[in-house]
């Protein structure tokens, strides 16, 4: 087996491997150019985040504009501080609403951003002040039962 042919085959082998890995990452996985773009980080406080997880999508008008970076519990004010990375291409005004929605009926939860009307935009490190918590099924059921009970009285 002469050396040049051997080296050529090994080179082809490694190239096929790298191409498969790239194919897996791009076509099968969710590593898109979106994740590699520059982002700016803002925070939002929620009383109840429901099932929100890090890496959950952040959507504006249904289009993915960013990802949830981290979720921590504030021990002083007893609410959750969610940090989100928004793609630098998309700017939102300072009075944006951040709501937690569920994708589909029982799907995973994501943050939906609705733009307000202010002129100044959110910048790195700002805090979104208008937030709406996740819908918790138990609270909904107890609300329903309570309203049913007060109806019958």
């Amino acid at each position: 087996m002469d050396k040049i042919k051997l080296d050529a085959w090994v080179g082809i082998f490694v190239a096929i491997g790298v191409i498969s890995l790239l194919g897996l990452a791009m076509k099968v996985g969710n590593l898109t150019s979106n994740d590699i773009r520059e982002t700016y980080m803002v925070t939002a406080n929620f009383e109840n985040i429901g099932g929100l997880k890090p890496r959950a999508p952040v959507k504006g008008a249904g289009v993915v504009v960013g990802r949830v970076n981290s979720i921590v519990f504030d021990t002083e004010a007893y609410h959750a501080i969610v940090s989100i990375d928004i793609d630098k291409r998309y700017v939102f005004p300072k009075d944006t609403f951040a709501n937690i929605y569920t994708a589909g009926l029982l799907g995973e939860q994501y943050i939906g951003l609705e733009a307000g009307g202010e002129e100044k935009n959110l910048e790195q490190g700002d805090r979104i002040t208008q937030t709406q918590d996740a819908v918790v099924l138990e609270k909904l059921i107890s609300q329903f039962l309570y309203s049913k009970a007060s109806e019958e009285e």
Partner: protein
């Protein structure tokens, strides 16, 4: 009465002997592993040694890996569609095929095939080198057989496994696609978009690669040790190759469970 107690004693003696001999061999294999790490410098300075071994372990395994991957992917597509369409979720077939391959079947089946094809070749080669006294001849010339023969094969195995596992997963997904979309008629857009939405690069694909590297280390060490330790006879070498396949397969499946339980909890 004496005959019965003799047989009983022999039975227990066999169990004790096999336990202690397995433990001794485990210790010897670990020492070989550390020796390989110590003598590894040559595998990278004289990189042509390692490249030669990558050819014989990796490139020669390509055919079996690609063909097996294609068939595994096709079977996954078929079986998955048959079950999913009972619940009206036939569009999740892409997710099923991709996650099964990337998380489990890719690393594990590739490792099993690797142990069977490349592992036995390594064991037979080193066992025969030992039987024909080539290794002793090298030691006489003050050339370390571990640095020149064993370590390059180890690093070749470790480098080859993740490459083969990636190729397996990718070809398997293509096999699943070929069955699901043109043959059965699942919607092509739904197939890929559902898959992309549910397969995470860091938690699925990278975990699969980590698994394949661990399997590569385990299989190659077992193959090298069995070859190095084989009795220098024809029968000894053939027994050693069988042991390589059996021990590697058990080690792969056990390590798979351990790694998966670590990875699932995050």
């Amino acid at each position: 009465m004496n005959v019965n107690t003799n047989i009983l004693l022999k039975f227990f003696e066999k169990i004790g002997h096999s336990f202690s001999s397995r433990t001794l061999r485990l210790g010897a294999a670990t020492r070989l592993f550390f020796l390989i790490l110590v003598y590894s410098a040559d595998s990278f300075k004289r990189i042509h040694l390692t490249i030669r071994e990558i050819y014989f372990t990796g490139v020669m395994s390509l055919v079996i890996i690609i063909v097996s991957a294609f068939f595994v992917g096709m079977v996954l597509g078929l079986q998955g569609y048959y079950t999913l369409q009972k619940y009206g979720s036939s569009e999740a077939i892409g997710v099923l095929v991709a996650l099964s391959l990337v998380r489990e079947l890719g690393p594990v089946v590739t490792a099993l095939l690797f142990a069977g094809r490349a592992g036995t070749a390594i064991t037979a080669e080193i066992g025969l080198m030992k039987a024909t006294e080539q290794l002793s001849a090298m030691e006489m010339m003050a050339v370390s057989p571990i640095a020149r023969i064993i370590a390059p094969r180890f690093w070749a195995g470790v480098i080859t496994m993740p490459i083969l596992a990636s190729i397996f997963s990718m070809v398997g997904v293509l096999g699943g696609y070929v069955v699901a979309v043109p043959i059965i008629g699942v919607d092509e857009g739904a197939f890929w978009s559902q898959m992309q939405a549910n397969v995470d690069f860091r938690f699925d694909i990278v975990n699969g690669l980590i698994k394949s590297v661990v399997f590569g280390i385990a299989c190659t060490i077992i193959a090298l040790f069995e070859g190095f330790d084989a009795p220098p006879t024809a029968e000894g070498v053939s027994r050693a190759t069988t042991r390589t396949v059996v021990t590697s397969s058990l080690a792969i499946l056990a390590l798979d469970f351990v790694l998966t339980s670590f990875m699932i909890s995050g």
